[in-house]
């Protein structure tokens, strides 16, 4: 099976992931994307989500906290704001972040003011959700 190189870099942790993979399933701001080797050139922005990586020896998930993705036929480069392997995720922290973000979203919605706050809270919620998903923890 042919492979494609996936590289994930973050501003503060260097290269989090660099391996040959078979398929990448990720979510851009325009929708879900599945990327196989020899994909056409593509540049897009990613939303916070749990990315699925299929490679020899099974499938892993990787948390991406938003960023950009460039695809060339041989290589996928992801510039992530943050990225975490399942082992690095702190479940308790993610859970409490999820609760906090949920409350903030609700209160921002009820008040109906400050669009920026709502956006921020929603982004935080999405991040917390994705972290929990990567870990396979049911969302409360």
């Amino acid at each position: 099976m042919s492979t494609i190189l996936l590289e994930v870099a973050t501003p503060d942790k260097g290269e989090v992931f660099a391996k040959e993979i078979n398929m990448l399933i990720c979510r851009s701001i325009a929708g879900e994307l599945g990327i196989l080797p020899k994909h056409a050139r593509l540049l897009t922005e990613l939303v916070p989500h749990a990315m699925r990586i299929k490679m020899d020896g099974g499938e892993t998930q990787l948390f991406i906290g938003g960023g950009f993705m460039e695809v060339t036929p041989e290589k996928i480069t992801i510039l992530a704001d943050s990225a975490e392997m399942p082992d690095d995720i702190d479940v308790e922290r993610a859970k409490s972040a999820y609760k906090r973000a949920e409350d903030r979203v609700n209160s921002a919605k009820n008040k109906g003011d400050a669009e920026i706050d709502l956006k921020r809270a929603e982004a935080a919620l999405a991040r917390a959700k994705a972290r929990l998903l990567v870990k396979g923890v049911p969302i409360p």
Partner: protein, 374 residues
């Protein structure tokens, strides 16, 4: 004649200073390790961002998309000549001193860029990666070549008069070192028009104080972050700069910082941050045949991606500067410790000599006295 107590006291105080410099050395060393770690983790991200930008933008050249942040060199020269905006410089130095010539090297580079007179000192060249260039300097010749003085625009007038002033200042005070002339030019020449056309953003207390004293217009300064930079400050600077740039208030933005090459080599560097000059980007993309697919579309991707690149660049520069500052301090402090050690040795020798001389004297007196009794 030095007395023994006096020398003893001096040895003691030198030893105390040595203890302090030694402690500062160790503090700088541990912080340096953290700063270098942060820098090294950031490098791949910055490199990849740059790579992607060059590929994508290079491939776009000559097509119909226009983004305000992207310019060719000719367009930039035209802007610098015609448009009535200001030049902005971001100077990244340190909060604290006692780091050898770290800050003064940055200021030298900054003055060199701000009051550029057409002669390149060429110190930061050579090992440059050759693609982050300072178009503020590079365009000087092109701007200068437009000779007809009568039809000079205000902008040109500014750059030329300031540099003319520099030439004169250097000529007049030919006895002083060129650095001195550089530093004092803004004050000495007192070219209000030129200084008016310049804005500064300073990071680090040293930088703020230095440029404030010389009458520059500092629009924002950041203190207390130079040793441990955070991305949010870089983002803040980037947002401010981009807003002013988009509003047409400033024409180009130059970033002056210290590039960290190794623990013993930190070189001040100056790069043009905005606009992104696309002239040699095509190299990166010349063997690309098919066009990129953009999701959702080119403009919205560029609108997100280019600001990210700018902020990343500033953050990277801050990390470079932090690592450089701490390594300079480390070197300065370990040198100071060594020097103190040497001084203590010399003082000890002197102390022993004086003591011996005293003893010899006393013996002489005793012997003399005994002889007199016989």
């Amino acid at each position: 004649m030095a007395n023994l107590q006096h020398i003893r006291r001096r040895i003691k105080s030198v030893k105390n200073i040595q203890k302090i410099t030694n402690a500062m050395d160790m503090i700088a060393r541990s912080r340096f390790n953290a700063a270098r770690e942060a820098l090294l983790s950031n490098l791949p991200y910055v490199a990849k961002t740059k790579e992607i930008m060059r590929r994508v933008v290079g491939q776009m050249r000559g097509r119909e998309y226009e983004h305000p942040f992207l310019k060719t060199r000719d367009e930039l020269i035209a802007e610098q000549k015609e448009a009535d905006g200001k030049f902005l410089f971001i100077v990244i130095a340190s909060d604290k001193g006692l780091a050898g010539s770290f800050s003064s090297n940055v200021f030298k580079e900054a003055h060199d860029t701000i009051e550029y007179d057409g002669t390149d000192t060429g110190e930061s060249k050579g090992a440059d990666d050759g693609d982050d260039e300072n178009f503020h300097k590079k365009n000087f010749d092109a701007l200068n070549a437009v000779k007809p003085i009568a039809s000079r625009t205000q902008k040109q007038q500014r750059q030329v008069s300031a540099t003319g002033g520099m030439a004169r200042a250097t000529g007049r005070s030919s006895g002083t070192s060129s650095t001195g002339a550089n530093v004092s030019v803004a004050r000495e020449y007192n070219d209000a028009a030129y200084i008016d056309g310049i804005e500064l953003i300073t990071v680090g207390r040293k930088a703020t104080v230095h440029f404030q004293q010389r009458g520059y217009n500092i629009i924002k300064s950041y203190h207390g972050i130079s040793e441990r930079p955070q991305y949010k400050y870089a983002k803040e600077i980037a947002d401010l700069v981009m807003e002013r740039y988009a509003g047409g208030e400033i024409i180009d933005v130059t970033l002056i910082y210290t590039q960290f090459r190794s623990a013993i080599s930190c070189v001040p560097d100056d790069v043009t941050l905005l606009p992104l000059v696309t002239d040699d980007f095509s190299k990166a993309s010349e063997n690309l045949k098919e066009e990129y697919i953009y999701e959702p579309d080119v403009m919205s991707i560029l609108d997100e991606f280019l600001p990210r690149r700018i902020a990343t660049r500033i953050y990277g520069a801050m990390l470079h500067s932090a690592a450089s500052e701490l390594s300079s301090r480390m070197n300065a402090m370990s040198n100071a410790t060594d020097n103190a050690q040497e001084l203590v040795g010399r003082l000890n020798l002197f102390y022993n000599k004086v003591r011996q001389a005293g003893i010899t004297n006393e013996i002489n007196e005793i012997v003399g006295g005994a002889n007199a009794l016989e």
